[in-house]
Subunit: 246 residues, 2 copies
């Protein structure tokens, strides 16, 4: 199927103090839904690993008109916009099942990495990719290159622990994003929502690494911040977070 | 229905470096499944809150023969063993869907608290409770009173952040348990599994509280530890964790 859909109902156990889906959960849900579609297309993690390659999420941009709310039913649709030898562009649209209206959109860029050489694998060799292409575009700016944060004004140190480590012995995406989100106090989220989020994954952190999470205003904008999680001064993830007054 | 079942498939995205379900996820899954059954019985959070009362998990004991593993299908069954004015005893059994064998059991004690007076509400006044009682016992020791940890040998300090706060503005159960689990290094979990876990919830922590997580060997046993998360020297959660060599 060219479009894969994941339906869900957001319960009270899963939401923030603002009764909304946490940003880290939104990102992991996007990744899980992409995984579900890849599995359906026969190019999921299991198939890839049997060929010594693995999908790696390189870049993700989410444009949020409305954050998913508690006790609401939603549907997350995903499709492959396009691909070339190196990258696959996958888009997402979340629909409020009660109104039928889209509430957010996402664009992601994936690579397939050879686990031994650590080099990109040729996506055009993957059977089933071409037939799956839908072509429907992401209706917003995909975002440009994210650069390391200069002159950080917010900073937090954290040592990765057992509960932060995934099946590949790397730090989870959830932990990176929670470290970024946690740079601001609760009042920031009471007064603002996140209207757009861009993240680029640079390298993996591991158990017991000491991370530094930092943020700085983006070109002097009071509502946009550049943020990153780094280990030994080398960025693991770079992000840009756009706040909007409630 | 006297027994409520939740079926699930454990994916690679949800497991630890040991390819198993994290303890914090097991506990939140147990709570979610209890919530699902209470909703089905018409005594869920929504109904209770409309009467100014709320379910509060007071005590939980999990006996683990086998930790749920990646790429396996499971079923978690739950039922009400019994109840009186003050407490409701709810049991759980997890079945490996491939073998049909039970792999773990849990016993939980719940109270219904009046949100205004903070006093226990009379459970015998709840319609539908008596008919739902199944009576099937928890086949292990329910565990005795957990006392505050003395002479801690492991200690960690942590300030609760935005991502740790739930819809009621309290610290999440997941965060308490991850803080306890994270007191040990990764090697501990590579060499051991958790064979039994008991936890008692004492009071709620809040945003920006500074917690101290501590652990001490239980009566000199090398494989059993008492642990707690406390704020201002007052315990929020007390637990006992039993390790078993792999």
């Amino acid at each position: 199927m060219k479009t894969f859909s994941h339906q869900f109902y957001l319960t009270a156990a899963e939401v923030t103090a603002q009764r909304e889906m946490p940003l880290s959960r939104l990102v992991t849900l996007i990744i899980e839904t992409a995984t579900g579609h890849a599995n359906q297309l026969g190019i999921g993690f299991d198939f890839m690993i049997s060929h010594g390659i693995s999908w790696v999420l390189s870049r993700l941009t989410i444009e949020i008109k409305e954050t998913p709310k508690v006790n609401h039913a939603y549907r997350l649709d995903t499709w492959i916009e396009n691909f070339n030898r190196m990258f696959s562009d996958r888009n997402f649209e979340m629909i409020d099942e009660e109104t039928g209206e889209p509430i957010l959109w996402a664009h992601s860029t994936w690579m397939a990495i050879n686990m031994e050489s650590r080099r990109p694998s040729d996506l055009t060799a993957l059977k089933g990719m071409s037939e799956a292409v839908n072509g429907q575009l992401f209706p917003y700016d995909k975002g440009g290159k994210l650069l390391p944060v200069q002159d950080a004004v917010i900073e937090h140190e954290y040592r990765f622990a057992v509960s932060d480590i995934d099946v590949n012995r790397h730090v989870t995406t959830r932990r990176y994003i929670d470290l970024m989100v946690d740079l601001w106090p609760l009042e920031q989220y009471e007064q603002n929502t996140v209207s757009r989020f861009e993240i680029a994954f640079k390298r993996e952190a591991r158990y017991d690494d000491v991370a530094r999470a930092v943020a700085a205003p983006h070109e002097g904008s009071p509502e946009v911040f550049d943020t990153q999680v780094e280990v030994n001064s080398s960025p693991c993830a770079l992000a840009r977070i756009y706040f909007k007054k409630r």
